[in-house]
Symmetry: C2
Subunit: 692 residues, 2 copies
């Protein structure tokens, strides 16, 4: 952690002031004055509205952008990796070999993919906070959940619309977001994983980088034709240079910059160590599982990718908190903030107790975490996930909207239905391993003598239980799942499906611990979060940005290298650099298509670039645009220093990493023969590789 981040930690108190290029800003609250002060210019609200409508979200957890009038959408390869794997077969491995639809008719539907375009934002803070006013801790979550379900339903959720109330500033502000929902998304282009993820895990979260981590999908309408788009991003008409302004528009998944010290302690001492321990074991297992054979490798490699990616991210976050100076800075900042609150009798009366309340709630969280995580939130088996969703849908859907578990509220049904009925392959052997492992961990975490464990296992071993459930279940067939979902509780119970019966064995226990968690941890933290946000507004006003929430944000910055104890790095790499880094051994082996096309390529074409934009996981696939709003890059990563971005931002070191737009078109044209895409992306006159 750098000195300046430590300093930021000391100074920032709770206000998240816009230090340098720090900030993941709401598109309806852009800090135009601050940006003008630093850079002499700032976007207009029209410009912001245009990029808001052009940048979209993959509901599964990535960002993307519309890049043509006919529904072409650009995102990262790693954001469509699962789709590419789902479309592959033992004979056609598109992950390994890449895929390009020669004609628009060849474009293939991605199972379960949903794209959201944010069309409207409405402030509903007053309605939400009124509803929970004076409600006690234990009921807080329940009352708020019912209110949000009501607002979302009234907003008009349907197959075409998705409405979500977003909690900003951890309860300080609520906005109702209305999205257009697209559920017919088809794969257009994906390169070989060897170039999308060139350098593999060793290079992940590093820069310099040489990755074509890009892919294209297309949004289709109900009529089965490509969707016509009113807003889309144009390809840049000139190549960007060092120090040029860059904007990133996307959906950062979450940050923890507003957490109190006791919450940071929970993350440092409990959350990340537990997560790293669990995922590392899974990593080792998956790595070795691939030795069972080529097919097993193919079935598991997307999971391994996500696991390794998460491990690296968790490590970075844990390290930020393990940095003594950084942590001491946060302690000092909180102390200073509390002193200010305590100095004002009125503020002290309203907010003075909030830190101790949060600390006491975190103690509860420490006690409940293990059983809550083990029984309710952790799932490594797709089939068991389906089983639980079906089982619970039978119980939940007959209830009034506001009383259901929140994932079964009316506003969430279209996506829930899509996810459960998606047509994607399931691999018995892989599922058996994953479920067996999950059950082994369940027994390990709760202990062999725990009553729930005894109920689940009886005299069986985790492996035998998993093998029998995977073998016997009919849930591998999406039609069976669809029929059960539609059929409701009676059909689901009558099915006597072994996977559903396995889920049923401990569903009541899982629900009980969830209820306790929501009453004793989640609800109180929401209530306390609202108070903390109000204390912050009272002292610092509302000009700062809220923690990220996987909703649309914009960050501004410039194209800039960085210097750390390993070297001094320029902001651009070139295609030539990839050939220099090629060793022939995975993960440093370029695909044959690249080696074959080398002589045709303009090797000085910029390949990847890095910028000072403040991003985090969820921003993957975000478009990077210039001041004109034209695409200059495709964000796919941050450098190693950016991992601490969960807790703080340091302009000297944190960098967003993107594929350069010129590399995308150069590769599409000269390596992949994808002229129809290049023409769609880059109308006459747009900049090309080799332009000065």
């Amino acid at each position: 952690m750098s000195r300046s981040l430590k300093l930021a930690a000391v100074l920032s108190v709770l206000a998240l002031p816009a230090f340098a290029d720090e900030g993941m800003w709401l598109l309806n609250s852009f800090p135009a004055e601050a940006m003008k002060k630093k850079y002499g210019s700032a976007p207009t609200q029209d410009w912001l509205d245009h990029v808001r409508l052009s940048a979209v979200r993959l509901a599964g957890g990535c960002s993307a952008s519309i890049v043509s009038e006919t529904g072409l959408v650009m995102t990262n390869h790693h954001c469509v990796h699962s789709c590419v794997q789902d479309l592959s077969t033992p004979k056609q491995d598109f992950v390994k070999n890449g895929w390009f639809a020669k004609t628009q008719k060849d474009e293939k539907a991605c199972p379960g993919m949903e794209i959201n375009q944010l069309v409207e934002m409405t402030d509903v803070t007053k309605q939400v906070q009124e509803a929970t006013k004076g409600v006690d801790d234990a009921k807080f979550n329940e009352v708020q959940k019912a209110k949000l379900a009501e607002l979302e339903k009234a907003c008009g959720t349907s197959d075409e619309l998705r409405c979500e109330v977003i909690s900003l500033y951890r309860g300080g502000r609520f906005e109702l977001y209305k999205y257009r929902r697209f559920q017919d998304v088809r794969l257009v282009f994906a390169p070989e994983v060897a170039i999308a993820f060139f350098g593999g895990d060793p290079d992940n979260f590093n820069f310099p980088r040489y990755d074509l981590d890009s892919a294209f999908v297309r949004v289709y309408g109900k009529d089965g034709a490509p969707m016509k788009m009113d807003h889309y991003l144009k390809w840049s008409s000139e190549l960007p240079k060092e120090d040029d302004l860059a904007f990133v528009v996307g959906n950062p998944g979450g940050t923890s910059r507003l957490l109190t010290v006791s919450q940071l302690e929970f993350d440092r001492d409990v959350k990340w160590p537990a997560g790293l321990t669990r995922l590392s074991e899974l990593r080792g297992m998956l790595h070795e599982y691939a030795h069972r054979g080529a097919e097993q490798q193919r079935h598991s490699e997307d999971t391994l990718f996500y696991v390794e990616n998460a491990i690296k991210a968790y490590k970075g976050r844990h390290q930020a908190l393990a940095d003594k100076a950084f942590f001491e800075g946060r302690v000092a900042a909180e102390k200073a903030f509390r002193a200010k609150i305590d100095a004002n009798p009125e503020l002290k009366k309203q907010y003075g107790g909030v830190w101790d309340s949060i600390s006491a709630t975190e103690e509860k969280a420490r006690l409940l975490r293990k059983s809550y995580a083990t029984l309710e939130t952790t799932n490594s088996s797709e089939l068991l996930g389906f089983a639980r969703t079906l089982l619970r849908s039978g119980d939940e859907l007959p209830k009034p909207n506001g009383e259901r578990l929140k994932e079964f509220s009316d506003a969430r049904l279209p996506q829930l239905k899509q996810s459960i009925t998606k047509k994607a392959p399931i691999y018995d052997e892989f599922e058996t391993m994953m479920l067996g492992w999950q059950l082994t961990k369940l027994r390990e975490e709760l202990g062999a003598d725990n009553a729930v464990v005894k109920k689940i296992f009886g005299k069986q071993s985790p492996e035998a239980l998993a093998a029998a459930a995977v073998k016997g279940t009919k849930l591998k067939d999406e039609k069976v799942r669809a029929a059960l979902f539609e059929g409701g509780k009676a059909k689901i119970d009558a099915a006597k499906d072994p996977m559903i019966e396995l889920a049923r064995l401990y569903d009541a226990d899982a629900r009980a611990v969830r209820k306790q968690w929501e009453a004793e941890v989640e609800g109180p933290l929401k209530k306390q979060g609202e108070l903390l946000a109000k204390a912050n507004f009272a002292l610092n006003g509302t000009s700062s940005y809220p923690d990220a929430t996987f909703t649309q944000r914009i960050s501004y910055g410039t194209i800039k290298g960085f210097k750390d104890d390993t070297g001094d790095y320029r902001p651009f790499t070139t295609l030539a650099g990839a050939f220099e880094r090629h060793t022939g051994a995975d993960p440093f082996a370029l695909p044959k298509t690249w080696l074959d096309a080398k002589s045709k390529l303009l090797l000085e074409t910029p390949f990847n670039l890095c910028t000072t934009n403040d991003i985090i996981g969820g921003n993957s696939g975000s478009p990077m645009v210039n001041a004109k709003g034209e695409v200059i890059g495709l964000v796919f990563d941050g450098n190693i220093h950016s991992l601490g971005g969960e807790y703080g931002f340091d302009e000297k070191l944190n960098r967003a990493v993107a594929v350069h737009s010129a590399a995308i078109t150069e590769a599409l044209e000269k390596i992949y023969g994808a002229k129809r895409l290049v023409d769609e992306l880059r109308p006459a006159g747009a900049a090309k590789a080799g332009d000065k």
Copy 2:
């Protein structure tokens, strides 16, 4: 962590007062007065000398005891697990099926096993501290090392003697320990792993327990005959009862109860998270590796056992430090202690700065840890370990004794030679996996662009490098290793062995980072530790016990159950309980021998027991004796609460777990037909199962 441990943390300051049954006492500094006060009696020095000479150490990391006049030694199955595996073949799996030498002639030599009997202890504090007086930080380690090597050599180290200077109280006191060394150790009896480790990882570190974690080996003399012993422990003549006194004599491996807060922070934030992450990945890999086939399972299962055992131990230690109240207690205790030092101008002048110095050294440790661990201290490949030892022995042995790396000092040569020339099978496939993984981690930790990484890999992948080195090396043959070790540098260089050449590739880098670590971390910590110990002696006197150092200690306590939030546990289990817990599915499947013998067994025979003795890893295999010095049990574990014993002891909850002596003889006689052993252990008149 219980309330009383928190209290202990608050009160204990740095003095480790003998709270209740807390303490791993030196056998030449037994707190007889304190024990008498609590229990009305205490052992005499003669009694202590007798048990000191009867209890022995397995140099590889366990404890044991001599239990017959003809050299029979009792220890845990898990302490000889590697030997049992080494003696197995694809056709004779002694780990799975157990092993009993029907006659003394059938006893089989355990490769690389060394047993030490502590025959003499001499205080050398003055010599050691004089040698380093006034020496500056960077040279401290080197000067002290030379002095220790000199003292050890002068003591007369040979094939028959092992001399070691032990640093007690982290530098406050030094003792020269003289051991008799036994290197011909033969396996006599080991049960099936299924009963030695019944309950497997789920039950590990838990009580109630049902494990026959016992084994017998025998010490042989140079004449090839069983060694005649002057001191040995007799089998108990009566069955122990709840609340009876119990002593444990063994070699606790290490505790960290004297660490300062900045050192505890290092453990909490760096050491355990890094260790858990690494070992968890290895765990997942090994677990899945066993799916390659029965042979692969057989080759890897002892490693998996050690890894899972370590993970559980690390988790417990991390959790102790992650407990906020416990940690805050340590912070308060240190503050109080510093205040006392600061209140006395003379003490303040001498010791007032030591905490800040340690804190600054810990910051250095944080910076250097990754490269030091990666290049120098972490090794998962047996062949690479041999290669490095050979390479370095060529460079080190020609140097004067005091200037060598400490593991090459004259006093350490007999064990070094034994370990490198031991005849034990090496499995190419397993080695290739382990070495490939280690190299992958090396690249991950240091980064693909690190100069050392580039030097090691060139254009090769870790897997290819590992496969080639394992395939090409001749070091699998112990005769080749012995010849190279004897041949010295010229022979070692001339061999051009690919494994040695791999070690050579980064040996200079590994040595450099070690040198830096010793100069900037290890040396300063030793120097500061000496000051801290003196500060402690100045305020609290010398009546307390030092942190554990894998040297002989005695702990006293009583046979007692415990009560925690999962239940109220009695101190004994019975053989009947094992049959009740049997499910038929691993790890809860009793061996066939047990199921077959059930009707012959006295099922009410006590099986395992728990006591308030203060123990920790390294105590495995320790004899548990009654006030008469007779064997009543064999320590093999602690309960889950004992894992926090690294940092503190809580008599309410911490328990040592042992196999009851009656269960051992009952099983030997009725299940294993090992009458010759029972007769050797239990002369006429000794207590038997069923006695009241």
